[in-house]
């Protein structure tokens, strides 16, 4: 029995790469990414800016309209191959999408009602009163007070959180099987962020749809996802069930991401550990591991050789691509060796053991 039958896989991506032709050469923004998403599950894609997480999803959706884009690999949605096809049939009806900034993703000159009626008419054939009733239902579902009044307002009359709720309602109108939320709370106030994230989780469990939650915050993904994929420099660093990831984090990059975010259970005044340096140049990436120049564990091998993922990216497996995983003997001795010399193999200053914070 193949894994696809064992689990009810909705989206299966294999060896998926996206590159852009630039004057300097080919920019590999997404490089050999594989993952799978089960029906009804939530996948968190985590990485810093420039890690390729947004491009991955927009490109999968076929929303990048650039003739410089080069797409390769395979991605099948419910058994249907998406790569190399017109993806319009998937839009709205099967895959919904929410964007980062609700300020710009609603048309400023159209009232809310017209923007929400459109997918209802398009995908469900609802018009007139039926559409209005359904629209009010949707707005109620996403927690908008006085939905009937909101329908006749323009986007600028709504707050950021309200607008993002409207966006969610529009994305849900076509009753999609998969909802892609691309940093849905980045542009919102911190107080509103939690409501929107909780709302998404609730809607996901109510409707049974699958969800991809893109974020740069591991803390956001924790507790709201079934699996987490950590991306860096366009490649998958680590893929694991959420609980497993936090218990047995293997990749130094995941660990670094974790340490760069403040946590409530840490003692007060704990210094955060920033990840020094910048993401790799997609045109001319480092020959070895993409993260090696910024990695405290880096050894000579990391700089020369590209680590391949261990295991297959199937839901509920733990896969990582690193020669010296954090939670292994190799990793510990690599870090210890680097601490002793004060430098990693790539030349990064590594503080002596136990004093990982202060230089």
């Amino acid at each position: 029995m193949s894994p696809a039958e064992a689990h009810d896989v909705l989206l299966e991506v294999e060896g998926y790469s996206v590159a852009f032709k630039t004057p300097r050469g080919l920019a590999r923004v997404v490089d050999d990414v594989s993952f799978s998403l089960e029906r009804g599950h939530t996948l968190g894609i985590v990485g810093e800016s420039g890690s390729g997480k947004s491009v991955l999803n927009r490109s999968l959706m076929g929303l990048i309209s650039s003739n410089r884009q080069v797409e390769s690999g395979s991605a099948s949605f419910d058994g249907e191959q998406m790569v190399g096809r017109d993806r319009q049939p998937f839009w709205g009806a099967r895959i919904g999408m929410i964007f980062q900034d609700p300020m710009t993703s609603l048309n400023p000159v159209m009232k809310v009602n017209r923007q929400i009626f459109e997918p209802l008419k398009l995908h469900l054939g609802l018009t007139g009163d039926a559409a209005r009733v359904r629209a009010i239902e949707l707005l109620t579902k996403v927690g908008i007070p006085e939905p009937a009044r909101r329908l006749d307002q323009y986007p600028h009359e709504l707050s950021g959180g309200m607008r993002q709720r409207v966006m969610i309602a529009i994305a849900l109108a076509g009753e999609p099987e998969l909802l892609i939320a691309d940093e849905p709370t980045t542009a919102l106030d911190v107080t509103v962020q939690k409501y929107i994230l909780d709302l998404l989780s609730d809607l996901q469990s109510d409707t049974g749809m699958s969800m991809i939650l893109i974020t740069h915050d591991l803390g956001v993904a924790r507790g709201r996802t079934d699996d987490i994929m950590v991306m860096y420099g366009g490649r998958v660093m680590e893929f694991a069930p959420t609980a497993e990831l936090f218990e047995r984090m293997q990749h130094p990059y995941s660990e670094a991401l974790m340490q760069s975010i403040p946590r409530l259970d840490q003692p007060k005044h704990t210094r955060l550990t920033p990840i020094s340096g910048a993401p790799p140049d997609p045109v001319d990436p480092p020959p070895g591991c993409r993260f090696s120049p910024r990695c405290r564990y880096a050894q000579a091998r990391c700089v020369e050789e590209l680590p391949q993922p261990r295991g297959k990216y199937v839901a509920s497996t733990h896969v990582w691509s690193c020669f010296f995983p954090v939670a292994s003997e190799e990793g510990r001795s690599a870090l210890a060796a680097n601490s002793e010399t004060g430098r990693s193999a790539a030349g990064l200053a590594v503080a002596p053991a136990d004093r990982t914070v202060d230089p």
């Binding site: 839009w91 400023p108 997918p119 707050s159």
Partner: protein, 302 residues
């Protein structure tokens, strides 16, 4: 969101929404804008209602050799703006002349907007070969001397109202198309267009429902400016004897009073229509400018 509402609306009205900015000055159209609009409305109303207003017949010769001698007669209670050399009442001729001038101005712009606007909107959205081709055609149109083209068309075809309006309309296609294209390019990159695509909207739908209303805003400002240009252009054609054959236009009225002897002895003959033309063009320009400021069209690089 704890931003005050005025700032939100002002930022929203900006073509380039800058929501990071908290203190956006609320722009106003100002009294000058409304005075301009009032004049335009007045002139249009008079022009439309001309046949029913108690005006003197614009073609009647009020010759009064015994009382006043030879025409032209200077302005008086009888003839508010005087008469021309044929003793025809200037006031009534200016109002009837407005009918032709305004029709030419507005229909030329309407034609240019429908054709040029459509081409620009599609070009900016679909890009590719269509955009390259139409952009090149517009470049050729812009580089072709406008006056030569106008003379060419008007000398080949009969000089009816339709021909004159069409000529000026063709001339306005290129600048209008450029503006529509640049606005369309800008808005096509905006997130709400991507959102509409992700929602499943078809390209035609995105163009008509999402892009068009946004593109119309900067274009409405250009429409007023374009009308002014078309009215002046008609005056220019009249001077070359290439304006509408039948009926009077402001351009033709000015021409009648523009020989040096009349200018010296009876300046009111050309002065009346010149003032009417000047005020109308200025009102259109000013209102268009204010609208352009208001909607911040400059960002679209006219």
């Amino acid at each position: 969101m704890s931003r005050d509402e005025g700032a939100v609306i002002a930022a929203e009205r900006d073509v380039q929404v800058d929501h990071a900015e908290g203190t956006v000055e609320v722009k106003r159209l100002g009294i000058g804008f409304w005075l301009s609009i009032a004049w335009i409305v007045l002139i249009i109303t008079l022009a439309i209602l001309a046949p029913w207003l108690p005006l003197k017949d614009p073609d009647q010769n009020f010759v009064d050799i015994q009382g006043k001698g030879r025409p032209p007669y200077s302005p008086s209670g009888d003839h508010w703006l005087g008469t021309d050399q044929d003793a025809r009442d200037m006031f009534s001729r200016i109002i009837f002349g407005a009918r032709v001038s305004l029709v030419v101005g507005f229909s030329a712009v309407a034609f240019g907007f429908v054709v040029g606007g459509t081409i620009g909107l599609i070009g900016g959205f679909v890009k590719g070969v269509f955009d390259k081709l139409t952009s090149f055609v517009m470049l050729v149109l812009l580089s072709f001397p406008a006056l030569i083209l106008a003379i060419l068309i008007t000398s080949l075809m009969e000089r009816s109202l339709f021909t004159i309006a069409l000529t000026l309309g063709i001339l306005s296609i290129a600048p209008v198309s450029r503006l529509a294209r640049s606005a369309s390019l800008v808005f096509a990159e905006r997130e709400f267009v991507t959102a509409a695509r992700a929602m499943g909207a078809k390209p035609s739908h995105i163009m008509i429902r999402e892009l068009l209303p946004n593109v119309l805003i900067p274009m409405s400002a250009l429409a007023l400016l374009g009308t002014a240009v078309a009215i002046v252009a008609e005056g220019g054609l009249a001077f070359l004897g290439l304006s509408v054959e039948k009926g009077s236009t402001w351009g033709k009225l000015i021409l009648i009073g523009s020989d040096s002897r009349t200018l010296e002895n009876a300046p009111w003959v050309s002065f009346g229509p010149v003032v009417a033309l000047f005020l109308t063009v200025m009102a259109l320009n000013y209102a268009g400018d204010r609208l352009r400021d208001y909607f911040d069209v400059r960002e679209l690089a006219l």
